[in-house]
Amino acid sequence: MEPDREPTNSVQLQDSFSFEGPVRPRNYTRRKALNLFVKGLLIVAAVLVLYPVVDILYLFAYKGLQVISISRLIETTAGAASFNPHAAGGLANAILGTLFIVGLSSMIAVPLGVFGGVYLAEFSNDNRFSSIVRFFADVLAGVPSIILGYVGFLVLVLRFNLGYSALGAAIVLSVLMFPYTVRATELALKRVPNGIKEGALALGSSKTTIINRLSLKFALPGILTGILLSLSISVGETAPLLYTAGFSDYINWTACCHTQIGYLTYVVFTFYTIPTTNAIDLSYLATFLLILIVLVINIVARVGLRRLSRDLESRI
């Protein structure tokens, strides 16, 4: 017992010494219980929140593997609405359409975005203009995709009279990809060690040469990561395409104009409501393929490219 501690220190004293003993605060049992309770609650919340993703992956992997077949990958959706259970019908037009639109949109967004990012990282010295640009790029990334689609419809489909087309869809998707590409390039370039650039500068290289030959090379994994992830978003977009690409059951499209084009997300969105087994199976298959693409892109971007960038960094 410590007489000098007893009077004002409202902690319980015990007669025999242990660590639970002389300085165990009165509220400690409650606090310890609260600690365990909250931890438990948080873990339960985390599991509940993550469970649907696992369920989504499991459900569509299961369904997808049930319905996948060669013919469904090489035929088009033209026969899908038939009530004949042995009817033909596949996703070839949608798969190719998705790849075509997304490929076209990255051909627009990547050069614009990468060189826009070069300015922010290498030339702007973080001036006022660059902070405005950064801000607007972030705001642009937050614009709902349906608005991009509707504006694309107003401008491209109606005003420029492109009609539904792969080009219009690609332009809208490139607006979606652009801000990610700009910011990813900027971040990746800023992570390139200054020593490299300074070394080259000391050797008398021009800034243009340094950026193109050195900085961009070292920043490549980071830039690719950003591009890939924005591609994965584009692949999964539906709303902007409904208003710009239309849909076609055939592989008859050209880039432009007034030719509708098929894509996977449309199949997911609408085929489920067609009351034939074949159409419903195709919407499962389309979902499965989309998840597969997103999964592969994410793994490549996050695991593969991170390793590549670590290799590059270790060589410095």
Partner: protein, 290 residues
Amino acid sequence: MIAEELEQEQNSGMTLSDKSVKVDEPLQPSSDRLDSVGSRGRIDITDLSVFYGHLQVLKNINLAIEPHKITVFMGPSGCGKSTLIRTLNRMNDNVPGFHVTGSVTIDGVNIYSRGVDPVLLKLRVGMVFQKPNPFPLSIYDNVCFGPKIHKMTKSKAEMDDVVRVSLQKAGLWDEIKDRLKESALKLSGGQQQRLCIARAIAVRPEILLMDEPASALDPGSTTRVEDLMVDLAASYTVVLVTHNMQQAARVGNKVAFLYRGDLVEVGQAPNIFENPTNPLTEKYISGKLV
């Protein structure tokens, strides 16, 4: 009594109401308290080895740390002195792969035994860190943070006294008594470190661990903190980690020299510097060991 002199010195510089003097009493390191806890806060380290995963960072350490003395762990960086001090209040428990063999006992109880709650252990073993780490709160709230969360006081007035006395003991009261509500982040580095000491002693530990507390401070602040450590040793068991030999010599009662996880030599403060028995210690003291 050094501590009492300090108390008086500080008391003379401030206006005290009768009430606060009374409530003040229990926290004072009175001679009564010193006698009664004369044997409290003794640490015995026996055959202690510490591992991070497969990496052994401390090898078979045996050391007794006595109450009311300043025990210094000294050695070149990477010698394990920081790990050792953090092992004394189980701060390393959260490091993945951390485990110990051997024992650390405080007043006869092995702190790594099953029944010991590492959270409660910290109430007996306070700690001050290398970099001043005040919370982004007011000076007052920093000091009362511990007592408040542990519900150590019954009233606002009592809390005011805890804060005041803690700040007095940390030698900071006179400088900041008029701006207790100001952000702690506005204080200078040296003041912040003394605030962290006040915060640590506000929960009334018996042992105070100081992990290079002056290494981030300017020379003036360092001197103040060193003086403070000597004062604190009157009330607490003080364990100090430093890579600064002069500091070890100035404040240490007992000095332990560690090198690459081994406890090379332990000695009383003047002796170990004047007549080191181990050639490694001699090399370190003469500055030939980095």
